[in-house]
Symmetry: C2
Subunit: 495 residues, 2 copies
């Protein structure tokens, strides 16, 4: 895989000097067009062998292009805010918005490669990490991002020669590399596992470019040219790269009998039992959240449901059990401008709780496969791929110790009608009912299908859906808190 | 100051139960109106004696109101990202947006009070901290924020009784208070310095409310009532609280001879001197940024100047000296929706560099007193108070070790005309010239006045302006880098 990058590619200075001005102008033009269109972001991953010119090339790109529209990020050390969250959180928070270029040094590939070279992880775990990277990149590309992955290469001899030259250069020696490259074994391992990564993670939507790093003129022109051609092609391709899914479409329920129809909606609690059980479950929740073991976890509760199903009331009963310093409630509304300039899941990633904290999502990332699907706010391709992206997202949360509970609060049509009418009567509830709510009611069957598909495709052992029979608010509230408690206890039991 | 909060205020349960439903409804209504208007944020500061019901009251407010529109923040421990920046950064990042309520536990007052009680700071420093808090609150109020400051009080006897009750309550004992309240001396000091803080920081725009905390019914109704009345009054006061400044207006230059007119615009560098000096200063900058002493500092460079004065080119020459991982360039454009929901300086605070990092602002917070003043994008009251707010902001930066350099790149009208015409000819520069630029040219004298006032009012020993004669780009670029270098060296010399 690296052979053709060890053959001594070189360009003479004259050729280089002659080529640079036009290349630079074209890059600036493309960058300007990128900003004007603001249709997609560009992500440049920088990897490879020590001394192969990674830093120098990035510096040069900043000189050639407009550095005001390039964000260079490093991921050497994690801050404590990052350590308290799933590993990918730090990448999400540094994603460039549409119209800009983000250069990622020390990205996900460096992390996994160093881990494997140092022997901190085994090959199976490396492969898992590669798969995770693939899913992330696939999602970014599906969202429109243009990704360049550069591997700067040197043969072992080239590297040794280069490191000797650099040793006394203060511009270089002040950065301590996490790998001891002077060791002969290091290079071999690095290249071997590097090849494994490149082989498994080169994809049509995000291919690797291996660049021989020995000659600065060759290296620089090579990277500049790849960037330019990639940018120009993506900028010209005005239609969104919406691949329509190569799959059979989801179909509406054939017999009108779905998961929701099979719920026993008559379940209720009388007032006395409710008060007793609610108090007991709230006390239990309060205790579980103060438990020392919670410091190793975090809690995420997702509330979805029919309009007027009682999400707000249920959330308030959960909150009432807790110290307000422990939780944050995120009401999900229309995305802001900054959120629209990022991939769909970005606006949820930014609210992922740190260890020891609890985030309640009042509506959530499932909006994509519910309201956006039914109302046609996004393309079928978008909501169809959302199932997989959501599963990936939730797996990352749970793997980092986050306890995840997801509720669908279900009511029947007549109960909804009654509550809508009530809301219109009560002054301090009138803001809870809008024309949209009445309009959504007409799409009841489509919402039922969407909920059925959602549960089928995103309910799994790590992140199960809980369907809550919510015609009776009391029953629903107790079931919600009890489910959270059971999930916390189950997580503690596994610690 | 606390006498009337030690007299045993109490309300019986019946009165309380009778009053709560109407209060709750009214609070919900006000909260809804707050969200609908989204004209201003509400900030609630929670302070006072241990055991006086601070946590319980906040919990209750979350139950009474819609907790989805309330953000509760604590500031017990600083994260390392916070420790690497000026102390106020952590408060800025938690400010509630317009339309929402932010509850600040462990806010600036608790920090200074605990510092003084523990003897970590002297009274003079406490007074400085109080002044700093005043300036912050004044700014927030001028930006429209509604601030409530609550001091929950108990007499010494009441406190001792209360702590004894709480000792065995797991709901309470799990939180470790940073002060040892069992010590008799602690209460006395806390109350004495607390009085000092309240006395010096009670202002018409942000008064303190002292609430006796012994009786939960009294305490809760009292806080609820204060919040409700304050909210209702602010919501009804539809006109913005723009106080027009009680001061003589700034006047245009009488003799057309200002700072800018006194610059020697003929200064130039020939090509050979330029290349030599540029290389020398860039090497010096590179060395200074790699110096170990830089880890205790950060660098902020502000670039302002006439259109086409060469800001971009100067910034590129600075960047060319550095590793792109060390700096970030922030081009200041129109604020985003999230930025518009915050005080003016918020969008700059979010980019304040951590220690060891460098942020370049390509245009800056001075937009307020330049383009916004001249074009009438804000009220005179806004830009007039901006001078003071900016001085406060910059003092906080420099006090935290940030080295701050500010450049005004100045060219004369004929140079500008020549450059505008050039830009229209060169393809990859055409995006640098717009109709706005031509229009701004007509306001040259107004901009001169604005620059003169800006420099007069915001150039000080801690944050001096550097006026850069920029008719000759070479001269300007060398002067810029040299100024940065001198500032870094001066800062290191003082360490």
């Amino acid at each position: 895989m690296f052979e053709s990058a060890e053959i001594g590619h070189a360009i003479d200075k004259e050729t280089y000097d002659a080529a640079v001005p036009a290349l630079r102008e074209a890059l600036l033009e493309a960058q300007f067009e990128l900003k004007q269109q603001s249709r997609f972001p560009v992500i440049v991953l920088i990897n490879g062998v020590e001394g192969a010119g990674k830093g120098e090339t990035v510096k040069l790109l900043n000189e050639w292009m407009d550095p005001r529209l390039i964000q260079v990020s490093t991921f050497d050390q994690q801050t404590d805010e990052e350590l308290a969250r799933p590993p990918a959180w730090r990448y999400w928070r540094q994603l460039p918005p549409k119209g800009q270029i983000g250069v990622f040094f020390g990205n996900w590939y460096s992390q996994m490669l160093q881990g494997r070279v140092h022997g901190r992880i085994k090959t199976a775990v490396l492969d898992q990490a590669i798969d995770g990277a693939q899913r992330l990149e696939q999602m970014l590309c599906d969202e429109g991002a243009l990704i360049f992955k550069f591997w700067f290469h040197l043969s072992k001899q080239q590297m040794k020669a280069r490191l000797n030259t650099l040793k006394d250069d203060p511009l270089h020696s002040w950065r301590i590399s996490p790998l001891d490259w002077q060791q002969s074994k290091t290079y071999g391992k690095f290249v071997r596992f590097g090849e494994r990564i490149l082989r498994r993670s080169s994809r049509d939507y995000a291919p690797w470019y291996v660049v021989e790093g020995a000659d600065q003129y060759y290296r620089s022109l090579c990277v500049g040219q790849i960037l330019l051609e990639g940018l120009q092609a993506a900028l010209q391709n005005q239609q969104t790269l919406q691949r329509s899914p190569h799959a059979a479409p989801l179909i509406a329920s054939l017999d009108n009998f779905g998961l929701l129809g099979s719920l026993d909606m008559s379940q209720r609690l009388d007032k006395a039992s409710y008060e007793e059980q609610l108090a007991a479950e709230q006390a239990r929740l309060s205790g579980l959240m103060r438990d020392k073991r919670f410091r190793k976890h975090a809690l995420v509760a997702v509330f979805e449901g029919n309009d007027a199903a009682g999400k707000g009331g249920a959330i308030r009963r959960v909150a009432a059990a807790l110290d307000p310093r422990q939780y944050r409630i995120v009401p999900v509304a229309a995305p802001t401008e900054e959120e629209r300039a990022q991939p769909y899941l970005w606006r949820f990633w930014r609210h992922v709780p740190a260890r020891g904290k609890f985030t309640v999502f009042d509506r959530s990332w499932y909006g994509r496969v519910l309201v956006e699907r039914v109302e046609g706010f996004c393309q079928p391709a978008d909501w169809l791929r959302a199932y997989g992206e959501i599963n990936d997202f939730e797996e990352q949360l749970t793997r980092a110790g986050v306890v995840l509970v997801k509720f669908w609060l279900s009511i029947d049509q007549s109960t909804q009608l009654k509550r809508f009418e009530e809301r219109e009567q009560i002054p301090f509830k009138r803001f809870k009912i809008t024309q949209d709510d009445w309009r959504n009611r007409d799409k009841w069957p489509q919402y039922c299908d969407a909920v059925g598909d959602m549960v089928d495709r995103t309910s799994s052992e790590i992140a199960p859906w809980t369907l809550v029979e919510a015609n009776d608010k009391r029953f629903a509230r107790v079931k919600v808190i009890r489910t959270i408690n059971d999930a916390l206890e189950a997580a503690y039991a596994k610690d």
